[in-house]
């Protein structure tokens, strides 16, 4: 344990030494400074280890041989040392980052930096109010010096505004200190607490002055215009220091002094914090300058932390852990982003597109963005979970709501930024010079974030065991990304196979069903990957991530592990979707709906926990007053993933623009995650009533509307992948409808439809992907006549569409039949009729899918097109085998599902009776009707074969003719293009009921987004860039807060 005096000694000593040595020893400055920071870090580490081992508790170190208040005393506790570690680490990294500047610039930069970090350490440790004032002044002076590092107009202006602002802050603080001394006669914190005479009006206002000064230093909304100009104008490295280091220290001082506050103050500070969080995020929406955007983001995060700290009376013992989680994520991520900003050197978000030319930078950027938006496995994720849990437990719904809203807004601009980077046009590539000295600090930051995330779980209120094993695959695949595709593909498939071999036997019931869907789906969709040549950089880690999320989700037994898996899956699928060519806007909308859904889940889960105190799924209870709202929130959260009508607008773009083998992953498999979630929820919460309305009844209509709407919209698409995507919307409507029936048959429908949809969509998307791989064309009317070129693919599509449209004898009919029976049972007659109609509409688009590309006239340029490659066809034929098996013997699947469901819904199931034919042909008997799939298959095939035979016998000299040998009113077709009828196929249908497909949902969401943008633009107007108005803001802010607190409002 190094004594903190050495900090002072090293800091001041080196500072003077450097000044004395002058310019002669300039080349030693940088190493000396870095060494000094290294020493600082060593200091923090030397303290933190005993603390972690619980060898020591808080230690107070006296200076100058006197006890306080006569001399400064430094208190070092766990909290202090963590903060100091953060500060010193970041100082160390900053010095590396600024290495060249320190070397080439004047000596003063190094000195100022050294003094600043030293001061920050001391301000964290000190327990004396006046001492804090002194350090604050030193910080102000040194920061002002740093802000002026870049000598340009913007930084001068920013520095000036900073000086103005800090002079006011100092005055307020000093006034408070003077008053406290006046009323209490001491400025030593511990004395103040122990004296306990802080209740007089004057001392309360004195404390308020002190605290509000610190808060203004932390840049609250709207008194933060000066700070934004600093972030925009100063060198990004200084922005990093301001945002990550100085703010952290000041925040801690604020926290330290917060114990003096009265209960009313807590409330006001919470409000200030949350408003800052909300409005900064809102205004960041319309920012286009990366540094200013980072500034807004910093302010919002600090605001959130202020709020959390101020909520201490409510949250209790966990406050520090939560706040530190968010703070650490913020500090390292924000400094990292500022540093990257310094490397990129562009003042528009679009300039950042250059990042993707350096994959390494891109990964770093991704890590920081996900850390900021509280995704696993970063500390902020755990902190946010704990925060919500605490707020829910104490019934603070209002704060929950505001924090959720703010987090949503935050995700919007962060992911928009990420999307721009990944997809925007690269304007200036030469700006980036990869300097390893500059690159190493962000790398360290990212590593620290990941490590901190890994250990965060130990600080959670309930110790969770998270299954990191699947995530290991992600890391391994990342490490071997340089290998060719087939190696990685084989490895990943092998990993899934091995994992499922050991894990599947452990699962049961619904988890087993979905486990099979996810794992078999993983294998089937990955097989396609063998047809891809080259290295496919970056694909395998993120695919593995999505599957890891899905697989851990079915294993999850607690709310937290489920949520963790859910978020991992979201991240993986987001990147998968983002890989497509024009998918940036769609990936963004996918992410926004996912984040929105996840936040609702978070709220719902934590609220559910607050009712029962249970962390397992038993937390979903039916009979609490909150239950309907919890149910609603979680359901909507899951419905974003199942893309129900209204929440579906991300799906068509995301699925159609994704790569050929990603489409089946995100369509056939990913959507089932939402279904799985709904099943878990419905199983426990069942029917919920809001104002006497059964939510299940509403959901059933939602399912119907989704089915009809999705199918109708699919009918009017020209793009075959878009068509399939809308078809998925429709199919998920069926599943939702089935679940909403809450009966044996309804769930049988939902489960079988889930499995069937998985199979059909996987094979259809793969088949279409195969067509695309050969023709590079997705618009159906540009294709035609491919049946001769791609017969194998044609067969797949043929069976796919017959099955999907529910025509007997193929398996799709089972869904229709069960649906009808279930509807009769449940008395949802109108919905039931509407579902049958949706099935009929499905015909329209399905027929189009096979007619336009495969039948009709073959186009000239497609004459030499070949059949899709073996690896594309293999998974399709595996699925076809399954489809035919399930069609011939439906009981194979349905009976098994029935035995699972009977545990949960003992009434109203199907009865299976043996029939005359021995080979497993069993008739399903319901309350209303009966059906034997095997007979239907045999009889229809029998008739078909007899008729075919007769036709063959009577047409022995049948002649094959060419594509233009058609009756064409005596004319000869002149080109295949003008003869193939495929464009605007259902024009008449559109004319009759096309108004139903008017994009209501898109318009609604656009309106909402415009509303937020308008508010943001209007609010932003208060920052007019004028130092005077900023001062007025600060004063007004102070006055308003003062009156809120003391004016009895």
């Amino acid at each position: 344990m190094v004594s903190p005096f050495y900090l002072l000694l090293v800091g001041l000593g080196l500072g003077f030494l450097l000044g004395l040595l002058g310019k002669k020893f300039k080349q030693f400055t940088a190493p000396i400074i870095t060494l000094a920071f290294g020493y600082f870090t060593y200091f923090s580490i030397s303290w933190i280890i005993p603390f972690l081992n619980s060898e020591i508790t808080e230690t107070i170190i006296y200076t100058a041989g006197f006890k306080p208040p006569f001399a400064i005393s430094l208190a070092i506790g766990m909290n202090e040392i963590v903060i100091s570690l953060v500060i010193n680490l970041l100082g160390f990294l900053s010095s590396i980052y600024l290495w060249n500047r320190i070397k080439n610039d004047s000596v003063s930069l190094g000195t100022v930096l050294l003094v600043l970090i030293m001061t920050l350490n001391l301000i964290v440790f000190t327990r004396d109010l006046f001492n804090i004032f002194v350090w604050l002044e030193i910080i102000a002076i040194s920061s002002a010096g740093l802000i002026l590092l870049d000598k340009n107009k913007l930084s001068f202006s920013a520095g000036f505004k900073y000086l103005l602002a800090s002079s006011i802050i100092s005055s307020l603080y000093l006034l408070g200190v003077v008053l406290i001394y006046f009323t209490n006669g001491t400025l030593f914190l511990d004395d103040l607490l122990s004296n306990g005479i802080l209740t007089s009006a004057m001392s309360v206002s004195a404390i308020f002055l002190v605290l509000i000064a610190l808060i203004i230093e932390l840049k609250p909304f709207p008194a933060n215009g000066w700070a934004l100009d600093i972030y925009e104008g100063a060198n990004p490295a200084i922005g990093a220091l301001m945002s990550g280091v100085i703010s952290t220290a000041i925040l801690f001082v604020f926290y330290k002094l917060l114990i003096l506050a009265t209960p009313q103050m807590f409330w006001v500070f919470t409000l200030i914090g949350i408003l800052t969080f909300l409005f900064s995020n809102l205004m960041a929406l319309v920012q286009n300058n990366p540094n200013r955007l980072l500034g807004y983001s910093s302010i919002s995060q600090i605001g959130l932390t202020v709020a959390i700290l101020s909520l201490k009376p409510i949250i209790g013992a966990n406050t520090e852990i939560i706040a530190f989680g968010i703070l650490i994520a913020h500090a390292f991520a924000k400094t990292g982003l500022f540093w990257i900003s310094g490397i990129i050197n562009g003042n528009k978000l679009e300039d950042w597109a250059a990042v993707r030319t350096r994959p390494f930078l891109l990964v770093l950027f991704g890590v920081f963005i996900f850390a900021l938006s509280a995704f696993p496995p970063f500390p902020s994720f755990y902190a946010k979970w704990e925060l919500m849990l605490a707020l829910a437990n104490h019934g603070q719904y209002f704060w929950m709501l505001l924090i959720l809203l703010g987090s949503m807004l935050e995700a919007v601009y962060l992911f928009r930024w990420l999307g721009i980077i990944v997809k925007a046009e690269i304007v200036t590539e030469e700006n980036i010079t990869l300097d390893y000295i500059k690159l190493s600090p962000p790398i360290f930051s990212a590593l620290i974030l990941i490590i901190a995330g890994y250990f965060s779980v130990y600080f959670m209120s309930n110790t969770e065991t998270i299954n990191y094993l699947p995530l290991l695959a992600v890391v391994v695949l990342w490490a071997i990304d340089f290998l060719p595709v087939w190696v990685k593909n084989t490895l990943l498939i092998a990993a899934v196979v091995i994992y499922s071999y050991f894990k599947l036997p452990l699962l049961h019931d619904f988890n087993l069903i979905f486990g099979i869907i996810f794992m078999a789906g993983a294998i089937l969709t990955l097989l396609y990957g063998y047809s891809v040549k080259g290295k496919r950089p970056g694909f395998y880690p993120i695919a593995a991530m999505m599957y890891a999320g899905l697989i851990t989700m079915v294993e999850a037994s607690t709310l937290f592990s489920f949520f963790f898996a859910w978020e991992i899956m979201t991240v993986g699928s987001y990147f998968l979707i983002l890989r497509g060519k024009n998918s940036q806007p769609h990936a963004l909308s996918y992410m926004l709906f996912s984040v929105g859904g996840a936040l609702l889940l978070l709220a719902g889960f934590t609220l559910a926990h607050s009712i029962t105190g249970s962390f397992s799924f038993d937390a979903f209870v039916m009979n609490s007053t909150l239950s309907p709202w919890i149910f609603l929130m979680i359901t909507i959260g899951f419905l974003t993933k199942t893309a129900s009508l209204g929440l579906h607008i991300w799906l068509p773009g995301a699925h159609s623009e994704a790569e050929a083998d990603v489409s089946p992953m995100v369509s056939g498999i990913l959507l089932k995650a939402g279904v799985f979630g709904l099943i878990i929820l419905f199983l426990r919460m069942g029917h919920q009533y809001i104002y006497g309305i059964d939510l299940m009844y509403i959901l059933s209509w939602l399912g119907v509307a989704t089915a009809i709407g999705g199918n109708l919209m699919a009918s009017f698409q020209e793009d075959m992948k878009r068509l399939l995507a809308y078809s998925s919307v429709g199919q998920l409507g069926y599943i939702l409808f089935g679940l909403s029936l809450m009966s044996h048959l309804g769930w049988l429908l939902a489960l079988s439809a889930s499995i069937m949809h998985f199979m059909y969509k996987t094979m259809l998307f793969q088949a279409i992907g195969g067509v695309y791989s050969r023709t590079h064309e997705r618009r159906m009317y540009r294709l035609g006549g491919l049946i001769f070129q791609m017969p194998m693919t044609f067969i797949v599509v043929l069976i796919g569409i017959i099955a999907l449209s529910g025509v007997p004898p193929l398996a799709g009919f089972a869904g229709k039949w069960i649906s009808f029976n279930a509807v009769l049972q449940q008395q949802y007659y109108l919905q039931g009729a509407a579902m049958v109609i949706a099935g009929a509409i499905a015909f329209l688009y399905l027929f189009r899918l096979i007619h336009a590309p495969f039948l009709g006239q073959l186009k000239d340029n497609l004459r030499h097109v070949k059949e899709a490659s073996f690896w594309i066809l293999l998974p399709q034929y595996i699925i076809i085998t399954l489809v035919m098996a399930f069609s011939a013997i439906p009981g194979l699947l349905l009976e098994r599902l029935g035995t699972i469901l009977i545990k949960y819904f003992p009434e109203g199931g199907l009865t299976w009776v043996n029939s005359a034919i021995s080979f497993g042909a069993r008739t399903a008997i319901s309350q209303y009707g009966y059906w034997n799939g095997t007979y239907v298959m045999i009889i229809s095939m029998g008739i078909f074969i007899i008729l075919l035979l007769v036709q063959w016998l009577t047409q022995r000299n049948n002649k094959k003719v060419g594509q233009f040998n058609i009756v064409y009113s005596g004319e000869r077709p002149s080109s295949p293009e003008t003869t193939h009828f495929a464009y605007n196929f259902y024009a008449h249908y559109n004319k009759a009921i096309g108004f139903l497909t008017y994009p209501f949902a898109s318009m609604f969401w656009n309106k909402i987004s415009n509303l937020f943008h308008d508010i943001a633009n209007q609010t932003r107007l208060i920052y007019d860039g004028n130092g005077q108005s900023y001062l007025i803001h600060i004063m007004l802010f102070f006055l308003v807060s003062f009156y809120i607190l003391f004016g009895g409002i």
């Binding site: 007619h851 039948l855 009709g856 034919i917 047409q955 000299n957």
Partner: protein, 303 residues
């Protein structure tokens, strides 16, 4: 099982012949309405024979070849999955394989196959006819399903056998009298599946020279025409079973199906042809409203 198959052959044979004659008869009626002598009532047989006797025939591809086979399989299958005569072993067909919903879905089997075959010919008119057919079919389904749903609710069964059984014992037990709204919706909807005016724009000989079957001839034509004999008959047997008390003898079946088909003939000779979007709007208008009313009726008043 063996005798079932034999019975099936017999019942298909009898019914399809009845269908041929019925079609001839209807054309005769058409002619007489126009004060013509008209074609001989047995003309259908000669036409089939003629088509079969074509010396050359062509195909555009495998789906084109299979299209009529699918179509006819759909027609025969629809018939065979239905109990035609109540209480008759011979005419019970293969109705043990499935219930009403099987019939409802199986009628698409032929439609889909024919659509695939027609569009493989590469003829634009075929494809246009197919889109019209599919679009109109989805609209026809709407009121028809409403009617079916109402009946299923009324009898608490979707087994055709039970529905017929419940209607036995006097004319007042027929659905026609116990649930008139459903019958009206169903009878209006069923007009759309007989390919007669005002809903015959799918074939539209003057406009898109008969649409889907444009390229078909020889044995294909035999299958299509035979299907034209059995499919409407199967459909009207379904209607008869659902609405009009079923049949207890072949004669009763002949009479009732004749009347059901005459209903579409009557409408057909009286009204001109709709365009597709007009017919879609029509089906989604009055028949749909009546269908919804039928469901509301059974849900709230009947039980």
């Amino acid at each position: 099982m063996g005798e079932k198959i034999l019975y099936a052959f017999i019942s298909v044979f009898l019914t399809i012949n009845y269908g041929f004659l019925l079609n001839g008869l209807i054309r005769k009626i058409y002619a007489r309405v126009g004060r013509r002598h008209g074609i001989p009532f047995y003309q259908m047989y000669i036409d089939l024979l003629k088509s079969l006797a074509l010396r050359t025939n062509i195909r555009h591809g495998v789906m084109f070849y299979l299209g009529p086979v699918f179509r006819f399989t759909g027609g025969i299958g629809l018939f065979l999955f239905m109990p035609v005569i109540f209480g008759s072993e011979l005419f019970a067909n293969f109705s043990f394989s499935g219930d009403l919903l099987l019939l409802l879905s199986f009628q698409f089997f032929g439609t889909l196959g024919m659509a695939l075959g027609a569009s493989e010919s590469g003829h634009p008119n075929s494809a246009i006819g197919v889109t019209r057919g599919l679009a109109q079919m989805t609209a026809v389904e709407v009121p028809f399903v409403m009617a079916l749903m109402a009946i299923a609710v009324q009898y608490q069964s979707i087994s055709l056998h039970e529905i017929v059984a419940a209607q036995q014992g006097g004319i007042t037990n027929w659905t026609l009298f116990t649930n008139p709204l459903a019958v009206v919706a169903g009878m209006l909807a069923v007009l759309g599946s007989f390919m007669r005016p005002p809903f015959d724009v799918v074939l539209a000989p003057q406009e898109i020279p008969i649409g889907p079957p444009t390229e078909y001839h020889s044995n294909y034509m035999v299958y299509l025409q035979s299907n034209r004999a059995i499919y409407p008959l199967a459909k009207s047997i379904l209607i008869m079973n659902l609405f009009f008390g079923g049949a207890t003898s072949f004669g009763e079946m002949m009479l009732k199906t004749f009347l059901v088909i005459m209903w579409s003939v009557f409408v057909g000779v009286s009204f001109p042809r709709f365009r597709v979007e007009q017919s879609i709007r029509w089906f989604l208008g009055i028949p749909l409203i009546i269908g919804v009313l039928a469901i509301v009726y059974v849900q709230f008043f009947l039980n």
